[in-house]
Symmetry: C2
Subunit: 85 residues, 2 copies
C-alpha cells in the first residue's frame, strides 16, 4: 500500500488569477510581507500495490485526469505504508 | 525571503465529495488499485522577511483566510531563500 501526494500547479508562464485575487485579499488583511501567491491542487491517494509500478500508475493518472498538462505541471511524493494485517 | 508551501485538507472526519467523484472517475479509467482519494488546496507563498516570524504570519493567514478551520486542517513547510541582490 502506498500513500501518494500529488501537487498540481500552473506552469510558471501561466497567469494565476485565483492566486492574484488571494494576494489582494491577503494585502487587505494587512499582511504586506506576502509578495506572491500561487494556488494549486493537492491530492492524497491511497494506492494498493499491484503488478504495475506505482510511479507508472500515478503518472498515467496525472496525465489523463488530475492535471491539464497544457497549462499545469505536477509533482508527486510516494510514501510506502505498512500493509494492514 | 521565504518560500512557503501550505496544504489545506478536510479534517479526516469530514466527507470529501469531490474526492469521491474523482475516485469514481479514476475507477472508470480502469485504475482499480486506487483505494482512496482526498482533495485539498495547495498554496505557494513568497514571504518577505519582516520583524514578525514567518510562522506567525503564515498561521495567521491560514486561520483567517486560507483554511476554514471548522472543517479543514492545514500544514505548511517553510523554505528559506537567498535574498536577491
Amino acid at each position: 500500500m502506498y500513500f501518494v501526494k500529488v501537487f498540481v500547479t500552473y506552469k510558471p508562464s501561466v497567469l494565476d488569477p485565483q492566486g492574484e485575487a488571494v494576494k489582494g485579499a491577503i494585502h487587505q488583511l494587512g499582511y504586506e510581507s506576502i509578495q506572491d501567491v500561487r494556488i494549486g491542487k493537492y491530492f492524497e491517494l491511497k494506492v494498493q500495490s499491484s503488478q504495475e509500478p506505482v510511479e507508472t500508475v500515478v503518472e498515467a493518472l496525472c496525465d489523463q485526469l488530475l492535471a491539464n498538462v497544457n497549462m499545469e505541471t505536477y509533482r508527486y511524493e510516494i510514501i510506502e505504508m505498512e500493509e494492514e494485517a
